[in-house]
Subunit: 356 residues, 3 copies
Amino acid sequence: MADPRFFAAAGPFTLGQLAEIAGASLSAGADVDRVIHDVAPLDTAADGQISFLDNRRYLDSFSASLAGACVLAKAHADRAPAGMALLFSEAPYLAFAKIARAFYPTPAVSAGIAATATVAASAKLAPGCRIDPGAVIGPGAQIGARCHIGPNAVIGDGVTMGEDCVVGAGASISHSLIGARAYIYAGARIGQDGFGFASGPNGHLRIPQLGRVIIGNDVEIGANSTIDRGAGPDTVIGDGCMIDNLVQIGHNVQMGRGCVIVSQVGISGSTKLGDYVVIGGQTGLAGHLNIGSGVRIAAKSGVHSNIPAGLEMAGIPAVPVREWRRQIARMVRMGKAKPAPDALGGRIDAAGDKVE
Amino acid sequence: MADPRFFAAAGPFTLGQLAEIAGASLSAGADVDRVIHDVAPLDTAADGQISFLDNRRYLDSFSASLAGACVLAKAHADRAPAGMALLFSEAPYLAFAKIARAFYPTPAVSAGIAATATVAASAKLAPGCRIDPGAVIGPGAQIGARCHIGPNAVIGDGVTMGEDCVVGAGASISHSLIGARAYIYAGARIGQDGFGFASGPNGHLRIPQLGRVIIGNDVEIGANSTIDRGAGPDTVIGDGCMIDNLVQIGHNVQMGRGCVIVSQVGISGSTKLGDYVVIGGQTGLAGHLNIGSGVRIAAKSGVHSNIPAGLEMAGIPAVPVREWRRQIARMVRMGKAKPAPDALGGRIDAAGDKVE
Amino acid sequence: MADPRFFAAAGPFTLGQLAEIAGASLSAGADVDRVIHDVAPLDTAADGQISFLDNRRYLDSFSASLAGACVLAKAHADRAPAGMALLFSEAPYLAFAKIARAFYPTPAVSAGIAATATVAASAKLAPGCRIDPGAVIGPGAQIGARCHIGPNAVIGDGVTMGEDCVVGAGASISHSLIGARAYIYAGARIGQDGFGFASGPNGHLRIPQLGRVIIGNDVEIGANSTIDRGAGPDTVIGDGCMIDNLVQIGHNVQMGRGCVIVSQVGISGSTKLGDYVVIGGQTGLAGHLNIGSGVRIAAKSGVHSNIPAGLEMAGIPAVPVREWRRQIARMVRMGKAKPAPDALGGRIDAAGDKVE
């Protein structure tokens, strides 16, 4: 059970209720009235708890689990331990997410402005907002209903924000228009000047960055990530994008809907992403590129050119994943190959080039 | 036009004034008295606005632009749409920067100390400083004239700072001596202990980090970047250096004048950079290296050894760019090559080594 | 001498005292009563100061040093300048660390709660804590004796922390149980939701993250690093781990004792590290991996599979260091090789594959 110091659980629910919540089908013979009290990981779950199996790596944990119920794909049913109720779903993780959200609903925001918060007279707060201690809201800012501005967070002059947004501790936002239900994690920095300067004989001359950051609905920005405002055009993050921690988004970047940007990725200025692009951790994209919808880029890649929609890419520079696998296979073999004697008296390695 | 909620425009200016500001020459027949009201990107600019062309990728946008005027190199004049006034410059981006700064001058700092700021009795603020809500200035700190310390920023004990510095929201600085006109972005962390410890049989023993961070004039430190103070010597950032977001600078690093360090670069302890070194995003430098003046290192490189002045390097490990291009060309071919039949009955790939 | 604006020195000590503190042996003829006033780097040290030599790169600085005394391995004694007292140690850096800590002991925390701090009525502070201006401590938090919570730091509801912890400026912690003597640097983010969501036809659905962050004793978390709480299991950082700046630790990661994680490393969710694992800067680890105790991974590597205990790995994907060295040697040669004429009229490069 989740630590009650940090989490408040709802429930219990019957298996029948959970199947409905999850859009899952119960295994034959499962008792629809059986009561489930909580969610738990496979290896610690007990009889009254429900877990999930989504990654084949955990099949053994599944078979050994004491969970009373489990959400999984039908294909793995034969590995289930006796007595476990099974909830079948073609998308077990999504189904489990719905169950977990039922057990642990987002707590309602308790409205109020802390005594040590600073809210400018010209800022407008819609009803139901919670402004935590030390938070600062600048002149002309407009905050939607039920937003929660965390401790010591800073909302700059003129920033607008839709309903039900959360801004984590110490985050800061300026020059931005933000949609509803944004979740800005602690320490994120949104709207500062991009890295824009012109270099000349007397050094670097900063160029005014006159755009904004436009963030759609249902967007997450991870802890300590940075999103620079546009230089002239805007920086745009589409609806439903999920951005992890320590990500850098340069000025003028435009991102479509539902993109997933994993931790420590960097996207250089003016690059455009289509919808549902997925970028693995620590990957870097050069500037002024077009990345088509549905593109998937593996972790630690380096992208130097445009990518048509739908491709899976990897490597530095990024190539189609199949090509990257061949590159890697050969690199690995090169590393294993022992240099062999050469008829000419020198030494030739297995790839045919001289060993100096 | 830039969003007036966030930006205050000056102007208008005549073409003649703008040419003078930019050090540019007007195209033959352009009307020196024509009035320009604003700057704008090529693709959204209208008749009364001025734009710029600096990257050949945007030649089509240039030809289709409705901008009334444009700063560009003479070589591209033939691509200009009819009726557009042209301002010729050999450094169009630098020239445009001067124009943009004329339209959007840095607003004067409005002096004052917010009621919720904490300024130690022994701290000294020169005239004209603005200390925002929640900012904290420690004992013995000395802040130059017209500095703007942002909301919830923290200036540690004894820190000194020259005139006209800006410290962004939530940034923190300790153990540092900072020159004039520094721009420290939100969430930057300057002056904390370096990663210094000695490992022994009983674990890791932290070693006191007794140096400082010395920052010259006209330096920018990006959002959420970190600069550790020296271990004994100082960490030194020279005049005019531009450091982007999420950069890590280790203890004892010394950087000359005008270096440009792009986002997510990491520079390990005790490495020295000359003047005007440029390091692309996500590159890492090992410790105790000497990187000569004018060196340029491509993004995502890994530098393990000294680099003489003036070289352009790329790759992991970094090699001269020409060699890196050859490496990459071969890697890419390796990935494309289909394995071919082998006379011996096995299969041989194009590089001559066995396919297992 | 360390800048007295920032550091308070103890001492002086005699050579005999220092040898005892360091567990080092004095060179023959050294005067045990000679007085040493401070530590200093080799190249700036003067007669009354002690330095150290641990890296062969600095042998020339050592030979030219004016330091009155130096800690070093006996093997380098012949390079010592005349008149320098030598303290021999098999672990010179560790020995010097002990000396430096004697000269610069950690100052005692001066207890007190700043007027602008916000401490919830239900939070419990043990005696001797210092709570700086703007710091926020949530309901139910428990802070051990002599903890120092820095300016504008945020300790979330229910967080517990052992004795003698330091939390830097603007750092934020939630959903965490932290041991004694933790040093959480400025801007670190600990305990936020992991990057957990299930993707479906209607976008990405966030899944409640129900675990915590459990941090052992004597742990350091660097500036602006991020540690996500567990999704169901906990995220665990073992005793004595040293984590540098800008590191990302994903949900459910488990780390044994004494691990060293250098700057800008990313460890993906559910990966487990044994004890004393060392990971070089900018390296990334995929999720759900097992990394054995004592594994060392070079900087900028990409780890996609499990690593047995004790191996040294490097590269993308990471391979044993010896293999990686061969890979690199061939890559470098590929880059240097000039394409050569081919008997068949085409051109063949030195690796045997066609040059298109």
